[in-house]
Structure formats: C-alpha cells, structure tokens
Amino acid sequence: MAFMEQSLSETGVAACASAHVSVMGATKVFDMPDGAPPVNALGPVTFDLRRGEFFSVVGPSGCGKSTLLDLVAGLSSPTEGHIHFEGAEVRGQVPEGVAVVFQEDASFPWLNVFDNAAFGARRNGLPENEIRARVDHALAFMGLAGFARSYPAQLSGGMRQRVCIARAMVLRPRLMLLDEPFGALDQQTRLLMGEEMLKLWRETGSTVMLITHSIDEAVLLSDRIGTMSARPGTFIDIVETGWSRERGSETAMDPRYGALQSQIWGMLRNESLKALGLRV
C-alpha cells in the first residue's frame, strides 16, 4: 500500500512531467442559484496517473468522483489547482487523445451501430477505409460484429454500452476515462463487461481511469485504487493491487483479493456513513 495523497509542492510539479496525467491541488466549487451557499464538491485532490495503468476511483455517493473525472477529461475546469495531460494543461477543453465513456447510454439513436462507432473517427477526418477497418475491429472486439446495421433501440442496455465503448476504442485514445460505465447493468453483464475492459486495456495499452461504486470491480480490474472521502472528496488512500497485467475473473480466487476488498471497505465504511448523514 502506498499513501499517495500529496500537497501541492515542488515534487508534485516535477512529477507532472513524467506522469501521464497529473492532478495538483484540484478543487471544484459549484455556485448555487438564488443566493444559496456554494457547494464545495471536490478536493483539494493531488495524484498522478502512470502511463498505461488501470486506475480506479471508489468513494461514497456524492463525494465528487464524477466531478474529478470531468476535470481530468476537460469537461469542466477546476476552481483551483492544475491538471496536466501529457505535460499540457487541461482546462475546460477535452484534449486530443482522451475518450470518455459515460454511465448513461450515449449511443446516438438515429445512427446504426456502425455509424455510431465511426462517429468520432469521421469527425477526426480519418480516411473511410481506415475508419471501416477500425470500426470492424472494434465491433468484433466488443462482440457486436453481427449488429453493425442494427439501431441502438434494437439492442440491450449492455450492448448499447458496448457500442459507446467501441466508439471510444475507434478513436484509439491514449487516456480512457470511464464514468461508472457498467452502473446501469446487471451483475453478470457487469462482470463480463469488466473482462472486456481488461481485454481492451491490454490490447490498446491506454491509461484507464475508472470511476465506480463497486469495490469488487475496482479490486478486480485495477493496478491502483484511489479511495475517496465523503464530500468534499479527497483521496484517503491510493492502494496498489499488485495484479499482473494478465488478470481476469480468476483473480478473485487470489487470497489477496479478499484482503484488498476488506481494506477498501474498511476505509469507505465511515465515509459512506458520513455521506448518508449517519453517525460514525
């Protein structure tokens, strides 16, 4: 286990150059309408994402996990602090090489599966034969090869989420941000989707940051797990799992799996009680 929470310091700035993503002292405060007091949603948060790692963030509801992902993605700007992706500052604009998969179904209902998957690549102006090759590969990889001409309304929730992952995959992102992408799926589909994500991560070599409520999912999939406190969310601890890159469902048989689960839950229990407004 390594405690990674750091203050904004000289060492942090130096680390930014080597890290794939570097978050330094990021906070997010939301102004409320009608004179209500502002909400301090996040931070300060300081951590790095190493190139090619699978990093998960777990925390109680409303602790600012998704806000953190929005900041890293460039979908919103931090109130204070800095975020760097590949050495360049991210501030309210999604950098090239970053893809996000959201919890909600983000497939375009007016496009078929193929056109959905090709959407981002077409926007980037790739040649059509290159797009076709990438989309065919992504759909086959996600088990959607037979559904290229189907529309999202004809697919199950899990398949639609796979369409969204395929769309991200076609972009060949160097950083993949997953905002509880399996949150709306049943347990079996979640497990299978988790395995798909591991396959995808191994194949692409992207850095992955996964936001999840599920301790099991975080422990099974990740190289490191960041555990967040109740709002305003900060990292209580960042835990190394020590799994090999070839991990999968069988990892759950490893005795360390249960120990890691207990360790994470031990940190989260009090925070979850706080988030629910219950006495610790």
């Binding site: 993605a73 979908l75 604009q93 999604v94 090239e96 970053v98 893809a99 996000v100 959201f102 909600e104 179904d105 983000a106 375009f108 209902p109 007016w110 959407f119 981002g120 926007r123 189907s150 529309y151 309304a153 004809q154 697919l155």
Partner: protein, 274 residues
C-alpha cells in the same frame, strides 16, 4: 387430400397471416373510410338526409373530377397552394430559429412562456384588418395569417425537442471536441428531430387551415373563397367538388407526413422482433 398437400402451402399461409397482422390497422382504417362513404352515399340516395343539401359522395367525386379536368379553378388552387407554401416555409424556418433562441436564452423563455401558452387562445383571424393595413390588399395578409397561426407551434416543438436532448449526448459532443455549429447540426438537430418534425407537420396543417379559412371568410380569391362563393350561390355540386379536392389534397399530405414521422420514430423505439 394427402399430407403433402396440407403442409406445402403452410409457409405461404403463414406469410399471408403475418402480412395481414402487420397491415391490420391500415386495413381497418381503409374499411372505416369505405363504410363511412357507403353510409353517406346510402343516406343521401335514400333521402335519409336532404340530397339537395348533401349530395351523394359519388356525385362529389364526379364533380371534383370535372373541376380538375376543366381547369376553371386552377389559378385559385395555385394561389392557395403557393400562399400556404410560403406561410409554411416562413413559419418553419422562423419557428425553428425562435425555438433555438428560447432554448439558448432561458430568461427570455421565462418571460415569454405564459404568452406562448395562451397564444392559441387568440383568434388569429381578427388580426386580418391590421395585416391589410400593414401589407396592403394582396396575398401577403393571408400568408402572414398562415405564418402567425403556425410559427408558435413550430417554435414550441423545437424547444421541446431541444430540451429533451439527453445531457449525455451533449457531453459526448464535447468529448468529441465538436464546435457549436457541428453540435447543432450533428447532435442537437438529429436528437430533437422527432419533435422538430412534429412542429413541421403542425406548421403545414395550421398554415393550410389559416390560409384556406382566411380565403373563405375574408378574401376575394383562392380555393377557400371559391368554396364560399359556391356555397353562397347554392352551387352544391361545385362546393362539394372543391371540398372533396381539398380534403383529398390535405389528407394525402397528412398521410405522407404521418408515414415519414412513423419511420422516424420507428428507428428510435423499435425492439428486436421476438
């Protein structure tokens, strides 16, 4: 009959049954229209209703066909259609832009909301004298009447469509680093298209109602005026002939729009066949 004779036509019977099931609603609709026309024909022929006031539908059809062939009302038809078409183009474009503006400016929307809600409580036709003063004694007051009747329906439907776009699609647009114009063209417009299309459909219907109604009550030319003229001169053959032509025309437009709308919705809501 041997067993083969019983089994061979089964697939054909199944496909006919499937086609019948699929088209049952359309068949029932056609049946309803045919039965209604037949009842009216009988009622008029057997003098259950006054055959002078209400001529049999077959005579209406004959009269409509003659009117279409002799071309006496061609100019009026063209006048009405072109006025309605201009009102539709104006209403759909202005209504779409107005809807977009209300979506972008929530404060303006809050100010105008009650006015928009009560808009259709105003009898638009009372504005005709004012429109004559503004636009002169020509076809423009009628076009403006059609425009005013349709524009708010288009704006409200556009606004509804834009408001119902799931936030995640807009976030996806940002994730894909799309510009504002691309976002409107590639995400907002297709995402809100079913509502926008309903707005277009209503604009077409309302424009026709306003233009033909305006001609009927207030104008000296056009299809509506000729129906009113025939009515005032007890020329029932012409009046019903013109009315039937109008019904067929407006009905056909509506059926085409309905079919297009269904096609649009079908892609978004249809499920895998069991």
């Amino acid at each position: 009959m041997n067993e083969a004779a019983l089994t061979v036509p089964a697939p054909r019977r199944q496909s006919v049954a499937l086609a019948m099931r699929r088209h049952r609603v359309v068949l029932l609709r056609c049946l309803f229209i045919i039965v209604s026309i037949a009842v009216l024909e009988l009622a008029s022929r057997l003098a259950w209703i006054d055959p002078v006031s209400f001529i049999p539908p077959s005579e209406m059809a004959l009269s409509a066909w003659k009117l279409l062939l002799n071309g006496a009302y061609r100019d009026d038809m063209i006048m009405t259609l072109s006025s309605a078409a201009m009102a539709i183009v104006l209403a759909t474009t202005t209504g779409f832009l107005f809807g977009l503006l209300l979506y972008k400016l929530p404060r303006l929307r809050r100010v105008l909301d009650p006015l928009l809600l009560s808009y259709y409580a105003v009898p638009i036709f009372v504005l005709y004298p004012m429109l004559i003063v503004l636009f002169g004694l020509n076809r423009w007051p009628l076009i403006m009447l059609g425009f005013l009747f349709a524009v708010v329906a288009m704006a409200v439907n556009t606004l509804n469509g834009l408001e119902r776009i799931p936030t995640v699609l807009l976030r996806t647009a940002r994730m894909l680093r799309m510009g504002r114009v691309q976002e409107v063209w590639l995400i907002k417009l297709p995402a809100s298209l079913p509502f926008v299309f309903t707005g277009i459909k209503l604009s077409i219907v309302y424009s026709f109602i306003a233009v033909i109604g305006g001609e009927f009550l207030l104008s000296g030319t056009g299809f509506g005026y000729q129906i009113a003229f025939a009515y005032n001169n007890f020329d029932n053959q012409t009046m019903y002939g013109l009315m039937l032509l109008l019904l067929i025309f407006v009905g056909t437009i509506n059926l085409i729009l309905h079919a297009a709308e269904q096609r649009l919705y079908q892609r978004r809501v249809l499920r895998e066949p069991s």
